[in-house]
């Protein structure tokens, strides 16, 4: 602040005053943003290190289990398993639609399973009619 006050003491737009404004301005802006750059690098380093160590742990764990000859699949493999004859494209489309409707900021939805709610051959319109006709008065 003392530097600012020295400049303030000069009410005239002299060349030294203008030069001081330009140099002070650029130095302060760069200094502030360089500090933020360093902070972000530090933050990125810490979080990436955590992620890398977790990845390494996962790789080593899966490697050891594979060595034992167990037939295991990773979490991605489990979630992408296709059942009941539903293709992966359909699963992806349903997942995207659910995410569009239900996802909120900061929360991620994960579709774990997609199964048919009615047996093959039973028309949903017929089922709706049946429910309508059998509903108690």
């Amino acid at each position: 602040m003392s530097a600012y006050q020295t400049i303030l003491a000069s009410p005239e737009m002299t060349s030294s005053y203008v030069a001081a404004v330009v140099i002070t301005g650029l130095v302060v802006v760069f200094a502030c943003l360089i500090i933020l750059v360093l902070f972000l690098y530090l933050m990125g380093f810490i979080f990436n290190r955590d992620k890398k160590s977790k990845k390494k742990d996962n790789i080593s764990a899966s490697g050891s289990s594979a060595a034992k000859g167990q037939n295991t699949t990773d979490s991605v493999g489990k979630t992408s398993t296709v059942k009941s004859g539903i293709s992966s494209e359909v699963v992806a489309a349903i997942s995207a639609a659910i995410a569009m409707i239900g996802e909120k900021a900061g929360k991620k939805l994960l579709v774990k399973r997609i199964t048919r709610s009615s047996k093959r051959g039973v028309n949903s319109w017929a089922q709706a009619g049946k429910i309508d006709n059998t509903r108690p008065f």
């Binding site: 602040m1 600012y4 400049i7 303030l8 737009m13 005053y17 203008v18 001081a20 404004v21 330009v22 002070t24 301005g25 650029l26 302060v28 802006v29 760069f30 200094a31 502030c32 943003l33 360089i34 500090i35 933020l36 750059v37 902070f39 972000l40 690098y41 933050m43 990125g44 979080f47 990436n48 992620k51 909120k104 900021a105 900061g106 929360k107």
Partner: protein, 404 residues
């Protein structure tokens, strides 16, 4: 009977706005209304920054219609260290005087920043922190324009207000000019409305102003550089970022705290994921209400005597100079990064360091794709673009510290 009728008609005619146009200097109001129509056309017909240019131009029209009494320049014209009598404004002011208090008290710009923060994704900046340097370099336009303003004979306060146009950030320009032009250095020759009008006009012209400079300062090879994919950013990093930026900036440049603090509060609300209602309000209702108030009241300050003088011509010339210099500084720093990164950084993203979110980033993308249609620079340009918002807020803080 007929005499009384004629007298009444004459009285009504003399009190009407039409008589105001025929009074001494009334033609200037007509010219100003014509200018407001041009801005309305640019906003509606051409889509140039319509959300702000339309309320500003309508405010300009309202204030130049004689005898409407919605805005009273004499309540705000102060110089020589005098202060505004807000009590008198409340007692004697019109609707636009009351709304303009939010500008003079520096309330609207930080609230707009709150909304901007709630809409901004800082992930590209967090993923590539070097972008901050481009955001800082582009602020060179502000400080080099200060030299030009000094050469044209403006006072320090006026020069600071004009220079901040180079930040390409409307709320920041209004924030700085409203404070600087209320202090000792104010001569009354230019006003916040003049600065805002120039700033928003040039922001709307970013796609026209920037590309020639970007092309002139870069080679075809540099423009064709494809940049690598950005790393994913975790939620924790996104949450820590606004808190850390606020603390760092507020400690180093306290006068930038209102702008940066509100910007980061909005962003924290968004990234926390637990304040959906507040985020929606900040992004929509609050932002829209303030935009209307800000636009129409700033437009109201553009009275004929403020616009139709040589000082305004100086503001217009220096404003475009500020934009060009900011763009050039960003691109040139991008070239330095291109050299040091051994060709991994496309210098075109440097031009996005002037704020003008997201227009400046889109321009980088467009110019990059002209050289290589498969090149997607948008996300890379968003880093310097949002860094420019923070950078211009810091530059504003510096100008407020030095020039008040």
């Amino acid at each position: 009977m007929i005499d009384k009728f004629l007298d009444t008609i004459v009285d009504i005619a003399q009190e009407s706005g039409i008589a105001g146009f025929l009074a001494d200097g009334g033609w200037k109001n007509l010219v100003m209304i014509g200018i407001s129509f041009i801005f309305m056309y640019l906003a509606i017909g051409k889509g140039f920054e319509p959300l702000l240019l339309l309320p500003i131009s309508f405010g300009m029209m309202l204030t130049n219609l004689p005898f409407t009494e919605m805005y009273h320049p004499d309540l705000w014209n102060i110089s020589g260290g005098a202060s505004i009598d807000f009590g008198k404004v409340l007692h004697d002011g019109g609707l636009l005087d009351i709304l303009y208090m939010g500008v003079k008290l520096q309330i609207y710009p930080p609230l707009i920043f709150l909304g901007i923060g709630a809409m901004t994704d800082f992930a590209p900046l967090i993923a590539n922190p070097k972008s901050f340097l481009l955001g800082a370099a582009a602020q060179g336009g502000i400080f080099f324009t200060f030299i030009g303003a000094a050469l044209l004979g403006f006072t320090a306060a006026e020069a600071g207000s004009i220079a901040i146009i180079g930040g390409a950030d409307g709320p920041t320009a209004i924030f700085v000019s409203s404070r600087l032009l209320s202090g000792d250095g104010a001569t009354g020759a230019i006003d916040t409305g003049t600065i805002a009008l120039a700033a928003y006009t040039y922001m709307a012209l970013v796609p026209i102003i920037q590309p020639p400079i970007m092309k002139a300062l870069t080679t075809k090879k540099e423009r064709s550089v494809k940049m690598g994919q950005l790393r994913p950013v975790s939620k924790t990093e996104r949450v820590i970022f606004p808190i850390a930026v606020t603390i760092v900036i507020a400690l180093l440049v306290p006068s930038a705290a209102p702008l940066v603090g509100m910007l980061m509060l909005g962003n924290l609300l968004k990234e926390s994921g637990v304040c959906d209602r507040l985020v929606k309000t900040a992004q929509n209702e609050l932002m829209n209400i303030i935009t209307i108030f800000l636009g129409v009241s700033v437009g109201a300050t553009t009275t004929a005597d403020k616009i139709m003088n040589t000082k305004f011509l100086g503001v217009i010339i220096l404003g475009v100079l500020a934009f060009c210099l900011g763009t050039a500084c960003g691109v040139l720093f991008g070239k330095i990064m291109y050299i040091f990164s051994k060709g991994k950084v496309n210098p075109l993203i440097g031009s996005a360091g002037v704020s003008a979110v997201p227009m400046a980033a889109r321009v980088s993308q467009k110019v990059g794709q002209q050289e290589n249609p498969t090149n997607y620079l948008l996300m890379h340009a968003m880093g310097p673009n949002v860094a420019g918002v923070i950078g211009s807020a810091v530059a504003a803080g510096v100008l407020l510290s030095i020039c008040v």
